[in-house]
């Protein structure tokens, strides 16, 4: 965020807002899961076994203290340590917005109230959009199923079977049909054979004596 503050104020603004939202939704989850009325479960909830809690503890430890690691020196883009001093103008508002997010979450979800549904109603359409993840999945499904499957692939497959392949089959069938239809030339009548013979000879003569 310090970097964003130095380079682009709009980016900083978005990040600032997102920080507050993150705090808000994390605590929404926290209150909904661990506070409030006990719901009926199929299985009685119990504490996780050690195989799960130990990794969790390691992760929790990391989450709490990894900020103290000198990452700015270890991970850099140009080999030089990233020099960042605590910039109070960034730090204080950040913490404040985080606290604000937590506060709103506490207000809304600490106890079961009708505040969240009121808020949902107040935001109306945008709540619904957000609830449906802005319909991204639907868009993807629409694009694949309706556009690619139905309007590109199916026609392509049809085209392939009927036009391209149909053409190849047509070539074969034309040869066969021609073969069928000229069968009459071979009538079995000797007069006709003689006729064709002489005609052929005369045709050759006409072509090569007169036309050539």
């Amino acid at each position: 965020m310090v970097a964003a503050w130095h380079h682009n104020k709009i980016l900083f603004g978005i990040e600032f807002l997102v920080a507050g939202l993150t705090a808000f939704y994390m605590f929404r989850l926290y209150y909904n899961i661990f506070w409030g009325k006990a719901t009926h479960y199929h299985h009685t909830p119990h504490e996780a076994p050690f195989v799960m809690t130990i990794p969790l503890m390691v992760l929790a430890f990391g989450a709490m203290f990894s900020g103290f690691l000198p990452f700015h020196a270890l991970v850099t883009s140009d080999g030089l340590p990233f020099e960042a001093h605590i910039d109070w103008s960034v730090a204080i508002p950040s913490v404040l917005i985080g606290v604000l997010g937590i506060a709103i979450a506490t207000l809304m979800y600490r106890k079961t109230t009708d505040l969240p549904s009121k808020m949902a109603n107040a935001f109306g359409a945008s709540y619904k959009w957000a609830y449906h993840k802005f319909y991204m999945d639907e868009v993807y499904l629409f694009v694949t199923r309706k556009i690619i499957f139905a309007h590109i692939s199916t026609p392509v497959a049809w085209f392939d079977r009927h036009i391209v392949d149909g053409f190849m089959n047509l070539v074969a069938r034309t040869v066969e049909n021609t073969s069928m239809s000229i069968k009459g030339m071979q009538s079995g009548r000797i007069q006709q054979y003689g006729y064709v013979f002489v005609t052929g000879a005369i045709a050759l003569v006409l072509i090569f004596v007169y036309l050539w």
């Binding site: 073969s179 000229i182 000797i190 006709q192 013979f197 050759l204 004596v209 050539w212």
Partner: protein, 475 residues
């Protein structure tokens, strides 16, 4: 006539004496002993075939009417091998009760036509060519109606004799025009004098139609299907392989030597005829259900492919043509051998009867498949090499589009060849042709075909040998 002259005419003389020997033996056999003629004739012909490969005398006889060179000897040998296979294949059929009385007729007629073809190949002038042609045609009509108690066979004979009378007439008219315009019938003289005058072009076209009739090029092919279907299987295979092969040999030699001066013109004719022949042959073959008719049309399409070799007009072209005929003999006789074996046993000749053949007669099916693939030009067997070289020769003349049309036609032909394969391997049949064991001669014949189909392609020496005796258009 000295002994050397006899040696020069060795092929024809031995064959003619074979005919006489068969006739004499036949006269001295009792009715019940007639089948003995089969092994005698076949073994004699085998000796003739082997002798044909011995070193021979080359030269010119009768003042240029007759000539032999390494190429003509090779062509005759190729035909001999084919005829030998056909004779082997026909023995089962000849032994049938209904044919007993006229076994010798089969050999006499068949070998006479072969004599005619040999004379045609060796002819040095148009008179000899025409005599050979008639000798090769008229006994053939008798062969076609060999089983004359069958209506179809008789019909085939009469159709053949009428059609060939017409074509001979036109051919003879062409020859008379050639004589009239050049004053000679000798190939050498005619070749020197021939020019692009309308009358000579007309004469050439008439000559070409006559040969086109024998090779069954479209539109001179209409007799083919009916005659092939009506004749006995072995006669049909003789038509489609030997008669056609011989005519191709003669046509290419005459076109390359006598008509060399109008090559630019006949190339266009051949171009046109090649396309129509391939396309029409294929289109008709697509829907045939009778195996003989099917092979008849497929052989028309093959003739169209052969035209590409002639079109090349160069040494590759002639080598490829001769080579292709050799390959074609083995492939087509492989197919006809199977058809004949099955027909002789069961009388079945329809493609539907072949359904499920692989389950009962795997060896016959495999040979049939091999032949079909070879005819379709599938590697690594001989047919692929044959087609490749034919098309190479056409491409060497720059006829790329023609080559493309030809290869597309080869693809279409693959379709109907695969139909046969499909029938044998894939189609289900409740009552397939039962298993049978062919007799020795048939098996030897089929074996020779199978080996030929495999070996001729790989073994490049065959091609190289042919190439050593062929020539390009001679000036």
């Amino acid at each position: 006539m000295s002994i050397n002259d006899f040696l020069t005419m060795r092929h024809e003389l031995i064959l003619a004496s074979l005919v006489l020997i068969v006739l004499i033996i036949d006269l001295n056999l009792k009715k019940s002993q007639k089948t003995r003629i089969i092994p005698i004739a076949i073994s004699m012909f085998f000796i003739h075939t082997v002798v044909g490969f011995l070193p021979a005398q080359t030269g010119v006889l009768f003042g240029g009417m007759y000539h032999t060179e390494a190429l003509t000897i090779l062509m005759k040998n190729i035909l001999n091998v084919g005829v030998f296979i056909i004779l082997l294949q026909s023995s089962t059929w000849l032994r049938k009760e209904e044919n007993r009385e006229k076994i010798s007729e089969f050999f006499i007629l068949l070998l006479s036509t072969l004599v005619g073809m040999n004379f045609m190949i060796s002819s040095g002038d148009f008179l000899m060519l025409y005599l050979g042609l008639e000798l090769a045609t008229i006994p053939m009509a008798a062969l076609a109606s060999y089983t004359h108690h069958q209506e179809r066979s008789a019909e085939a004979g009469i159709k053949l004799i009428l059609s060939s009378a017409l074509s001979s007439g036109i051919l003879l008219f062409g020859l008379s025009l050639i004589y009239g315009s050049t004053g000679s019938i000798y190939f050498d003289t005619v070749g020197q004098l021939y020019a692009n005058t309308p009358m000579q072009v007309l004469a050439f076209i008439f000559f070409f139609t006559g040969m086109g009739f024998k090779i069954s090029l479209v539109p001179f092919h209409l007799w083919t299907a009916d005659v092939y279907e009506g004749s006995p299987v072995n006669v049909t295979s003789y038509f489609s392989v030997i008669s056609k092969g011989a005519s191709v040999f003669i046509l290419i030699m005459v076109m390359f030597t006598v008509f060399h001066s109008i090559a630019f013109l006949w190339k266009d004719i051949v171009y046109l005829i090649a396309i129509t022949t391939m396309v029409i042959g294929n289109l008709f073959a697509l829907r045939q259900k009778n195996m003989k008719r099917f092979l008849a049309f497929s052989s028309i399409a093959q003739a169209g492919f052969i035209m590409l070799g002639i079109l090349g007009g160069n040494k590759i072209g002639m080598t490829a043509t001769v080579y292709f005929v050799l390959v074609y003999i083995f492939s087509n006789l492989g197919a006809f051998g199977v058809v004949s074996a099955i027909s002789a046993r069961t009388g079945k000749e329809s493609m539907d009867d072949y359904d499920g053949l692989y389950a009962t007669n795997p060896k016959l099916s495999l040979l049939m498949t091999l032949s079909m693939f070879s005819l379709a030009g599938i590697p690594p067997i001989a047919g692929f090499f044959g087609k490749f070289f034919l098309f190479t020769s056409a491409a060497s003349g720059g006829y790329y589009w023609l080559v493309f049309i030809a290869v597309l036609n080869a693809t279409i032909s693959l379709y109907y060849y695969l139909l046969v394969v499909k029938a044998m391997f894939i189609n289900k049949n409740d009552s397939p042709i039962a298993f049978f064991k062919s007799d020795l001669t048939t098996r030897i014949a089929l074996m020779i075909c199978a080996i030929g189909i495999f070996v001729i392609g790989f073994w490049s020496q065959v091609y190289e040998f042919i190439d050593s005796v062929t020539f390009a258009i001679r000036n």
